[in-house]
Amino acid sequence: MATAVITPERENYLNQEYGIRSWLLTVDHKRIALLYLISITFFFFIGGFFALLIRLELLTPAGDLVQADTYNKLFTMHGMVMVFFFLIPSIPAVLGNFLVPLMIGAKDLAFPRINLLSWYLYIIAGVMMLHCIVTGGVDTGWTFYTPFSTAFSNTKVVEAGLSIFVAGFSSILTGLNFVVTIHRMRAPGMTWSRLPLFIWAHYATSIIQLLGTPVLAITLVLVVFERVFHLGIFDPTRGGDPLLFQHLFWFYSHPAVYIMILPAMGVVAEIVPCFSRKRIFGYKAIALSSIAIAVFGFLVWAHHMFVAGMSLYSALIFSALSYLVAVPSAIKVFNWTATMYKGSISFSTPMLYAFGFIGLFTMGGLTGLFLAALGIDVHVTDTYFVIAHFHYIMVGGAVMGYLGGMHFWWPKISGRLYPEWLGKFAALIVFLGFNLTFFPQFILGYMGMPRRYWQYPPEFQVLNVLSTAGSTILAVGYVLPMVYFLWSMRYGKLADDNPWGAAGLEWQTTSPPPTFNFDKEPEVTWEAYNYDQIPDPAAEEVPVER
C-alpha cells in the first residue's frame, strides 16, 4: 500500500524549485499553464458573479434589483469577462500549454519566454479590466456597438477596449507559439498523421487566433480613437457607417467562437477513445474538419448582422455559408459516436463530461442553424433564443469540454487522483443545473422575450424563475471541482504514470512530469490511439495508484 511506505518524492516540475520567484519568472510551459489556471478560474468566478446578479434581477418581471443602466453594465461585464478572460484562453492556455509539448514529445514550447510574456499580458489586461469594473464598468454590451459606444455611452469604454486589446495580444502570442511548436518541435517519428487530435484542434485554433485577433485589435483602436478624438468614422450623422464597426468586430468575434469550441472538441477526441477502449473513428476526417472549421468560420460573420441594415443579397450569401460551417462540426459528432459503437464504455467523470458535451453541443449547434435561416432569425434574433443557443455551445460545450479535460489530465498535472465519485456527482449537477438554466431560455426567446432587457412581461416569469433556479445549481456544480481538486493536491491518492490506460506521449512520462518532460527523447513508431495495444485498467488488475 503506497500510503504505508515512505517513498522519496521524485523530482518533477512542481517540486524542482520552490518560491514565488520560481513561479513568476518560470519559462516552464507546465508552470505557466498553472499560472493561467489560477488566473482564468479567478475571472470565471468574476464573470459568474455577474451572471448570478443578472439571474437574480430576472427572477421578477419588474426591474427591482438594480437600475436599467446598472443592468446594462451587468450583462456587459459578464460577457466581456467570460469571453475574453475565461473562454478564449481557457483550454489553450491551461491544457494546451501543459500538453502540447508533452503530446508531441518536446521539452517545451518553441518560445518559452514569449509564453511567459503572454501570461503577463493577460494579467495586465485583467488588472485593467478589474479597474474598469470597480470604477464604474461599461454598459455597451460585450459587442461595443457603435455609435453608442463611441458617442453616447458615459462609461469606461476606452479602458475596457484597451484591456481587451492587451488580452488579444496575449491570445495572439499563444497561437503563434503553438503553430511554431507543432511545425518545428515534434519528436522523431511524430508525423502529422500520428498527432493526437487535441494537437490538430489547437493548431486550427491557433490559426484563428493569428488571423482574426489582429482585426479585433485594430477595431478597438479605432473605437478608442473615435471616442477620444471625436472622429466620426462610425457616426451615421457625420457620414460614418455603424455597420462598418460590426463587420470589423464580427470578422474576429465569429471565428472567436471557434477559438472557444475547437479546443474542447480536441479534448473530447482524446477522452472518447480512451473510455471506449477503441481507436478513434475517422482520424483524418476529424483532423481535417478542425482545419475546415477554422477556415469556414471566417466566412460567416455577418450572420450576426442580418437585421442590422446590411443588404439582403449579402445576408443570403452569409446565410448559405453559415449552413456550410455546420458540416465539419457534424462530421466530428458522427465520428465520436462511431468511435463509441462497439466500444467498451466506462462512465468515468471525463467521459460523463464528454457525453454532456456531445449532446449539448449538438443542440446548441442545431439551434445555430435555426438562426442561420433568415426567416427564423428575423423573429428570434436579439431574444433569449440566441442567448440559449450560444450558452448551449459555450457552457454546455466549451466549459464541459474544459472540465472534462481538467479531470482527464488532472492526474498528469498534479500527480494525484481526484475522488471519482465526487467527480461524477459534480458532473451530474453541472448537467442538470445547466439544462434547467438554459433550456427555458429557448422557449422564452421563441415566445419573444428580448435579450438585454432588465424587465419583462409577467407571462415570462415562470420560465425565468426556473432558469434562475438552474443557475444556482450550476454554480454549486462549478464550485465542487475547485474544492476537490484543491483537496486532492494534499490528500488525494498518488497517481500512476497512466491511470486511465490512455494513449498519447503525455502518459509515457511520470505524473507529474519532470521539468524537461521526458527522461529520454521519445521516438514514435506507432499510430495515434493505439488502444489495441494498451491494456484496459478497468478490465485488468493494472495498478492505478502507487
Binding site: F111, L176, L211, P214, G232, I233, L244, F516, D519
Partner: protein, 236 residues
Amino acid sequence: MSDSPVALENHGQHGPELRHHFATAQQQRDAASLGMWLFLGTEIMFFGGMFLAYLIYRLWYFNEFAAGSRSLDIKLGTVNTIVLICSSLTVALGVRAAQMGKRKLLVVLLILTLIFGLAFLGIKGVEWYAKYKEHHIPGASFDASDLIRDYPQIHIDPSHEQIYFSLYFAMTGLHALHMIIGIGIFSYLLYHAAKGRYTPEYYTPIDLGGLYWHFVDVVWIYLFPLLYLIDRKPLG
C-alpha cells in the same frame, strides 16, 4: 535544470545562443524564422482592418478623398518613399554583412538604416505639422473650408472630409508607430553588433529585425499611392 541527462548530452557541441529546449541550432533558426513570418501575417491583418475602412469610405466619398489627397505634399511623400526604400537596401546589405561576418560593415549599415528611419519620421513630422496649420487634423479644430474653396467643381461635405483625414492620421500614425518600434529594435541590434555579438553562425536577430523593417516598408509602399495619389489628374 542543466543537470538533466538530455541537456548534458548537448553541452560543448553548440554555441552559447542555443536554447536548451531545441535539439539543434538549425531547429532554433527555423523556429525563429517561422515565428517572425507568422507575426508579420498578424500585422497584415492588423493594418488590414484599416484598409477595409479606407476602401469603403473611398468608394462612398471619392470627392472628399480626392481633395484630401491633393492637399498632401506629393514631393515629401515621394521623398519619404525613397528614403524607406534606401533603408530597406541598407537593411538587406546589413543582413548580408552579418552573414559574411563583416562586423564593421554591418555596424555602418545599421547606422545608415537608423539615419534613414529617423529621416522618414522627421519628414512625416513636417507633413503632419503642415496638416495642423491647415486645420486638417480631425477633432474640434477641423476645418475643410480651404478645400471647399480650392475645389469648387466638386461637392465636399466637411464631415466626410474629416473621415478621410481620420483615416490618413490613423494609417500613417500606426505606420509611424511601427517605424519608431523598428528604430528601437535596430538601436538594440546596433549596440550588440558593435559588441561583436553577431557571427555567421548566429545572426538571427539581424535577420528577424530585417524582416520586420522590410514589412514596414511594404506597408508604406501601399500607403503612398492610397493616400497621396488618389486623384492627381489635371483639373478641368
